[in-house]
């Protein structure tokens, strides 16, 4: 957070279009959001990712104005908004349940916010029309929300939020109410619309896949604080703690102590033997650490690979699952530890491993990440 000190209030650049400054919200002395600070760039899609009760929704509701912060401030485009009521903020929110007005038609729903701005009638009609075009719902303008499918309702909700050209768009579990197939399709559509409009966006989700595909940057939250903030690939490939590694995707974790530390690599002694990690650490010998290894970075072979001195363990396959694109194996190592291994089926007639087979699991030193917390 060092660079956030450089910008002064009132002349916030694009880098801190939205600034959350030491925000805390307590409910009956329990901190739902605990001293959170972050700067969000203009035009960025920023995801708050965490399981239920981590404080992500409370943070979003404070941005929208439905909750008042206990302490801390929120700035939007250089102006403090923490104390403004929701109807005076140039922020619009898409609710998880969409919250479409059931007594109004699609067009009236989209026009609702524009009418509140006392926009002239013909300009409202124009704007509603443009919005309907963006979300491709022109033929449904006269329908009531209950006559639409879930996916269409979601697009109406999006159009209603975007109609007012908000400075900040808030999405609360935007795909949560859709079924799986529709979700994958909508994910890209939603991302494209937001990017086309160019609005800055904060989205809340518990679904890591949703966060990874939609967001430019992700903040992983747990018990009211940010554990790690970074681009999706940073979060995935370089998690900074056990919680983040475990929360995003599948991971194999080895517990051990540092026995060798060089600038370009380190060695961790674990119950399964020595692991050779391809990066140096800031720590000292004898420190207790965890080592993370993603299942898709492991290779399986029937014969012991001759070119690997390190990072090769023998085991037997105890469980396997075929997923079409890849297979997931559980390999029991000596000492009982189970290793998850994902093997991509790059060939149509590639041979599958069978349950009970003796195999050697190996990986590159660079695949391992040392976690100190």
């Amino acid at each position: 957070m060092q660079q956030s000190k450089q910008n002064t209030v009132g002349q916030a650049g694009d880098a801190s279009f939205v600034r959350i400054d030491r925000l805390t919200k307590r409910f009956d002395e329990v901190a739902a959001v605990d001293d959170v600070s972050i700067d969000i760039r203009k035009g960025e899609i920023f995801a708050l990712l965490g399981s239920s009760g981590c404080g992500k929704s409370t943070l979003l509701r404070m941005l929208a104005g439905f909750e008042t912060p206990t302490t801390g401030k929120i700035f939007l485009d250089g102006a403090e908004i923490s104390k403004l009521p929701p109807y005076e903020r140039t922020i619009n929110m898409m609710f998880q349940s969409y919250a479409l007005f059931p007594h109004l038609t699609v067009a009236e729903n989209i026009a609702f916010g524009l009418k509140r701005d006392r926009m002239p009638k013909d300009r409202i009609a124009e704007r509603v029309d443009a919005m309907l075009n963006i979300v491709q719902l022109k033929p449904y303008a006269k329908r009531k929300p209950h006559q639409l499918s879930g996916g269409q309702q979601q697009r109406v909700a999006l159009a209603r939020c975007l109609a007012k050209s908000p400075k900040l768009l808030l999405l609360d579990e935007p795909l949560g109410a859709l079924d799986r197939k529709l979700r994958e399709q909508t994910q890209f559509e939603l991302h494209n619309i937001i990017k086309k409009v160019g609005v800055t966006c904060v989205l809340v989700t518990h679904d890591q896949e949703e966060a990874i595909t939609m967001a430019d940057r992700i903040a992983v939250m747990n018990s009211g604080s940010f554990l790690q903030v970074g681009q999706p690939h940073e979060i995935y490939e370089t998690p900074n703690c056990r919680f983040v590694a475990d929360f995003i995707g599948n991971v194999n974790l080895f517990d051990g102590v540092i026995v060798g530390d060089e600038p370009d690599h380190c060695v961790v002694e674990t119950a399964q033997g020595k692991l050779y990690v391809g990066h140096g650490i800031t720590g000292n010998l004898g420190m207790e650490v965890s080592v993370a290894l993603r299942p898709e970075k492991i290779e399986l072979q029937r014969a012991a690979p001759s070119d690997r001195e390190f990072n090769c363990l023998a085991g037997s396959i105890v469980d396997s699952g075929y997923f079409g694109r890849f297979s997931l194996y559980k390999v029991a190592l000596a000492g009982g530890k189970r290793l998850q291994v994902a093997i991509t089926h790059s060939q149509r007639h590639g041979e599958l491993f069978q349950r009970g087979e003796e195999v050697f699991a190996s990986w590159l030193p660079d695949s391992l990440v040392v976690l100190t917390s």
Binding site: G65, Y87, S97, A99, F101, F112, K144, H146
Partner: protein, 307 residues
Amino acid sequence: MSISNQAKGVRRALTRNWGRRTVIGIPYLFLILLFTVPFLVVLKISVSETEGIRFQDLMSYADGVVQLKIKLSNFIFLSTDSLYVQTYGSSIKFATFNTLICLAIGYPFAYFMARSPANIRPALLMLVSLPFWTSYLLRVYAWKGLLDDHGVFNNLLIWLHLIDEPIKMMHTGFSMTIGMVYAYLPFMILPLYANLVKMDLRLIEAAKDLGATPWKTFWLVTVPLSKSGIIAGSMLVFIPSMGEYVIPELLGGPSTLMIGRVLWDEFFSNNDWAMASAVAVTMVGLILVPLAIFNKYQADTGGVRGV
């Protein structure tokens, strides 16, 4: 599934249907016996020829001729006599007035009840229904003691030196309206509360998020969404107020003509059952039938699903 199992399944479905029919059938039977049949009896009396104290049958058969005799003189008299026309008008006026006042007082009441913390709502609901625990007659009668020339209010105002002479409150439109509003307010509050309490509060948040002030949100979202509650409450107040007898009798005066009192007079003072029946049937026809049609129209078109 084997064939015998399937047969068992079908049999089970049939018995389940029977159970369902019985459950629906009992209330229908109840309504037919205790509402439709008596109404038909009243309808019959209203168009029957009287013969001493007996009513003649509508249909008679003699010498191979079926005769149907329907006497319409009661209805003709009803529509020409100004007393009845005025009474209907005045009943509608008081019932409408009562409904509007109940709505004006009941809506904010129900709104704040529904928005109060969930743990005190049962207590508030209890307080609204508390008056039902004492006799209706007694409660209405108690207003006499409050509004009389030497009643509590007048005595209090005289004691405060705000007035020298008692104000005439009893047996006026004022006393009757107070009594009606007092008696029917819970019937407005309860359906409104039931509607408002299950309203999706995220819609209110969405309205505010889109720039509507709390006042605008109330008129543009809360009120339209509580339309079914407003209609239900208004019906529950308007319909019984139309035929109200006790309150006009106890608190009303010569200026407050109500259909209920006219009915009573026809039945028990004039002993003209046929006329009384005609008055009752006309009320049903004139007021309740249009209301029922309106209600059905509302349910068909204005009904908002999922709310």
